[in-house]
Point group: D2
Chain length 435, copies 4
């Protein structure tokens, strides 16, 4: 039998707390899950440092990837199958792209990419197309199959319907992570009627559309997403941990470039520091490795690296105040900068502005930052209309970006009056900290 | 104000997926959570290798410890408070013991302890009594407070009622882990009406008792526990991962003792290998460190260490067959041992019998292995009766130990017919593997 | 002991699917639940005819009333107690008002009140103040206690804080029914984090306010409410059943006034027909009685009454089309009216426009229809701000009334071409019904 | 197209709180749901008087019937389809039998049948085979189709596999009611992993079997059932309401037979009283009708009927004490009987022994009361074994009948010392009531 059509003797079933069960019948999917590049996702948390705020959020990207696969499987096998707008030969491609879409994520992805100027999407492409176990499995399907999978994930694949299954404003990716992250954090947001949404999805040439009768379920989904962003993903305590993490990586890189002699040499990091990261280097990086180094670095001589690593490991995070980038506040920030230096606290590492920004939903504006496809409704008369034209609630919030800035600093150092008492008091007054 | 009575200005609340919220008002508890020994529990999974079977089971012992604390807090603050049999001065002691009862667990605790002959309970005692942040916080309450906390956890504390809150056949520890492990694995077992059980708990001199009216909820709890043991904790795939892990540690120790030169020196392991483990050594050990070494060891020269580490990281586990320790089967095992050697597969590492055994519930039999206190019911007339004398269901299963043996081996190696084809076929026939 | 302070020997606990348990310790509350006026609420469904759309919605107002009581109990006993802005002497009053607030509802309340021009709020007042078991219990607390309870429910009580617990835009009434109705219908809307909202409620002179930190939970609550209105409460199939019910009552009244001789005399209805309803008459009316008559009336001679009763009992409802009250559509409606008469289908009973309208949230506009108090947030600096000024989402939907009109008719009669074939075809064409 | 194969243009979906959605694609099923005999089930509660103990238990048999249908639909469409042991032509038969299996239930079925010596199973047969809307729909499928459906429900159908879907010790009936009754009462028992059980069901000639791998899920189901029986179905407060209901019907019958003149003539009951119940009479009986009479009878002259009806409507139930049918207790009962008469409280209506008894699970014992088929496991080697031979837990409870007797009486009357003070005190002493 052709490998692409090969079925397992007995269906494999994963117990999943979010979707109850994840079903695998295709030999290709089973083999992909068994590759070492996919198993590596077990060692990368789905929500990075969020577990320091919501202790339940310790779930990995492995979990999420299976979940996205399962949602796409249900769409194509239970809803699209036998519909003329759906080409059954895109089925396996869709499943593989869903399973592998996050394959290139690094440890604590957000900070990691920012500091080392890496892009997980590029690494996803490399893993799929390079000399890997994943590539070997995909190639057994067809010579050009890895390329197709990579294109779907890169959104360049010709059949936009397939692309839209995993990247639009209501795709399997988002539907899985909202529910999964809500489940593991335990927050009461993040719930919406996915079963209903799946049942009213219809394949159209350019994208998945949603039958009008499912509009309210979609409204609910959009509100869930909005709440999850501000309640979970942008939680200020998580951002504090993220700030510290970023500064650890910055410091290590700086020290390495300055010729500092590490007690624990950052072997795994050298290629990240010098900017020539091979796929093999990248794949060795996971959160266990990163935490191993942080533990070792708690004993380094460099006071800043040592302190930041200890803060991260032991959750001694920075505090924050609201910050609005007005002239007045920018002046205050510069003043604080000077005072921090006077107090012997390096502001480059200890005085950080962090911003978060989200667009709850948007209609399509080509060329703009958020280019994910908007949601389209299929009316009873066959007409297709963009969601915000039909939903009063969605229209009300559509295109309204919300941004939030905070200023982070180590309050404990500022409270320690054994040294620099006067300047620290000045700082505290400027930051409106209680006496 | 006395430190032991100090309350936080504003109650701290942790979002918890199992108990919804975990409430902290006591300064002592807040300070304990912030110690580095307690934060270390974030880097140790509650269920060790179970995540390789149930992918959701990635939660840490940090999670569980907060949960046990919260259950005891609800018992003492909502149920026991103002009852004459309860001494309010034991409140803080109970909370601290609940929070800290698992403090000494090592990474992948089960295998780790077995191979290195360590005992996490001893390390719990050392952390509480030794030179640690935890000890410093406890000592601020009273000079003898660390000792008391240690005694409660060691079950030697005079007030057995306090001890029974965290160690009996229905204690806060078990009630938390059953629910929590069910939640994160996603299995449908593990649910019982804890709220009901808490409401009918009553303090008595020697232990917590349960009002007769809660008997059915307790029966349900016992059945949940039974199911969780056989469905989750003793799952044969988890045991396979555990077998491999054990063998990795054995091999590394053996190599070290044999003078093998490691490419990645097992610095963190030396004291475990030589049996003189200081508290500082122990506390450095967490799962990130362990996984770091396993990754490095995938590149060692030693073929066995390398293979086992790769199996663990990439989830290429051993398969198993049922095994009953009869004469006949023991003979077969010896035969297999010989054949494995012939096939060039070292049976010491690749042919392993693993046994699991559980007692669903037991009345008290002093001196026997399972010494946890049995459950006592408080009848309406004030009489106290051991559970199995009242519950037909519990009586039916009481004291009935169930044991299960399995034989683990690497099926993939036995299938590889590039070498030793004939002997491998013999082995496969003996193991009843399909052709 | 004073009756108002009397506690039950043992707390009574009701198992409740929504709040898990409902706790009663006060003798007064226990006695009120045991009155026959309160037990009567078991024979009145919370959602009237909704069970014909959502089959799970068979729960009674008895359920909901206990739920509202429990929420207020949690607010006053767990959150407000010991706060200086809260007067403990208002506790029992608040609990009684919560429990009794819906006492005067009639069977299938909405239609019943409309047709007979009755007001359930007036009957609630009469039951509390009149010669009833409820009044007798309340009077045992204090001579003026029934009056106080009645005032809280009528919103005329001086202490507006107490009033706001059961009538504001975020009161115990709404919080219970949203969750309860979601639970019994099984829809996925209606969930919000009530536990969080309760914890951040604070008593202020004029009303309950919500701490700023709970704003997102409140946003979620408002969105839930919006979804429940349009997905459940205004569901067009439910409205169809409501239309038929209304027409049954209209017809029975009309027949009675026209001197028609009923086979089953509408004894229980006489006072409703003639407009002089005593409290005793009213209390005899429940849904069992109403359904009994409907069953009997299926055998009346009057074809319209007979048909409508049979439709209701056997769920042969009217179909509907969208209807916008434009000039054009009004003309069409008049045309349909004429054609229905020609077809021998009395349009007074068989051609009905029904409208629904809701305001998702509103700031306060005195004198306007929806006078429920808006929601106020308590900021960290002690300032109080109306919700829509702080929440972008709520501001976006605030004050935006949504209205929906539908035209109902018996499609089956129009399809029956055994008579009046031509005119029925005309009607169907006008209504855009498929051939 | 043949009616039996006709599909709805658009699948109909019912929102169900237990199974999330109930799916109907077959025209036959849709038409059956629309019959008046099926709609009548909306007016009969699934759990009779249980709502007086668990206020949430107000759900109807309509709900449950849809649920059983849905479970069978999932078994045959998702699990059995395409298996050779399954004959696809039995599909519609199975679905219809599942939907209609409870069609003949009367109001408050248990007491109603007992007093009037009726059998709901006989009426189910009559409705299916007689001159009804249900029969008309079934006959459109095939002339002998009603007979087949009736046979499946009567367990006389030749294909025992089909029978076992709705009547065995693990059938769709039980799986639905356990979950549904748990959901509506809100108890935490009644949960088990139905999805898992469905997935491991396999069709065999004589019955459904369960793959060995699902054994633990089945154990959990059996324990759930056990708990639901003793916690919910046999709850002593529910049995008290049942006792009163039975006595009302007895009294009304007795009065009617004695020539008593009713103010409200029991028209609907005449045929029940005289034992010649036609199908039409029976179908008119529902709980609305029954409650209507009870309300009227609260104003009858007969003191006993009046009192019992008022007790039922207003939940003034009997209290109970444990009762063991020993010689000693039987003597006590006779003594009480005499004393009740002396006290002017008719023991025939006011002193009642009620017994409950359940067998948690049983292997097959032909000819005995509980003849439902036992559960069989399908082992990996193809062997089929009765459950209790494989499961230690099930073996422990198998065949162990548990029985419970209680003695019910009106404590309020015994406390009223305005008359017969001395004899009432004697009674209270005999019953061990607190002074």
């Amino acid at each position: 039998m052709k490998y692409s059509h090969e079925k397992l003797m007995e269906e494999k079933v994963f117990k999943d707390p979010v979707h109850r069960y994840i079903h695998v019948r295709d030999r290709v999917i089973w083999d992909l899950i068994g590759t070492k590049e996919f198993q590596r996702l077990r060692r990368i948390k789905q929500l990075g440092t969020t577990y320091l705020t919501f202790h339940g959020a310790e779930h990995s990207r492995f979990n999420h990837s299976l979940g996205v696969y399962e949602i796409v499987r249900r769409i194509v096998d239970d809803v699209f199958v036998n519909r003329q707008e759906w080409k059954q030969e895109e089925r396996l491609l869709s499943l593989c792209a869903a399973l592998l879409h996050d394959l290139g994520h690094g440890p604590f992805s957000h900070s990691f990419e920012k500091v080392f100027n890496l892009d997980h999407e590029q690494f996803t492409q490399q893993i799929i197309l390079g000399d890997t176990e994943v590539n070997a499995v995909l190639k057994k399907v067809a010579e050009d199959f890895p390329k197709k999978v990579a294109e779907v994930i890169a959104k360049t694949y010709a059949n936009k319907l397939v692309v839209s299954l995993i990247s639009s404003q209501i795709d399997a990716d988002r539907m899985d992570y909202l529910q999964r992250d809500a489940y593991f954090t335990g927050v009461s947001y993040g719930h919406f009627d996915m079963e209903r949404i799946l049942r009213v999805m219809r394949p159209r040439e350019e994208q998945v559309v949603i039958k009008q009768s499912g509009m309210h379920a979609v409204e609910d989904y959009i509100m869930s997403r909005y709440q999850m962003y501000w309640q979970v993903y942008f939680h200020p305590v998580t951002r504090s941990a993220e700030v510290i993490l970023t500064k650890i990586l910055h410091r290590a890189k700086y020290l390495s470039e300055s010729g500092y002699t590490f007690a624990q040499e950052p072997v795994h990091f050298y290629s990240m520091f010098n900017g020539h990261v091979t796929l093999a280097d990248y794949l060795k990086m996971d959160e266990a490795v990163m935490l191993y180094y942080f533990q070792c670095w708690e004993n380094e001589e460099d006071a800043i690296l040592k302190d930041l690593c200890s803060r991260f490991a032991n959750r001694r995070l920075f505090k924050y105040v609201e910050f609005h980038p007005s002239n007045e506040q920018m002046n205050k920030l510069m003043e604080l900068n000077t005072l921090f230096k006077k107090a012997g606290i390096d502001p480059e590492y200890y005085l950080v502005v962090d911003s978060s920004s989200d667009l709850p939903y948007d209609f399509y504006r080509p060329g703009e930052e958020e280019e994910r496809l908007p949601i389209h409704l299929l009316k009873n008369n066959g007409e297709i209309r963009e969601l915000s034209r039909e939903s009063q609630i969605v229209d009300a919030i559509s295109g309204k970006r919300r941004t939030d800035h905070k200023l982070y600093f180590p309050e404990d150092l500022l409270r320690d009056e054994s040294t620099k008492k006067i300047v620290k008091r000045q700082i505290r007054r400027l930051l409106d900290l209680p006496e």
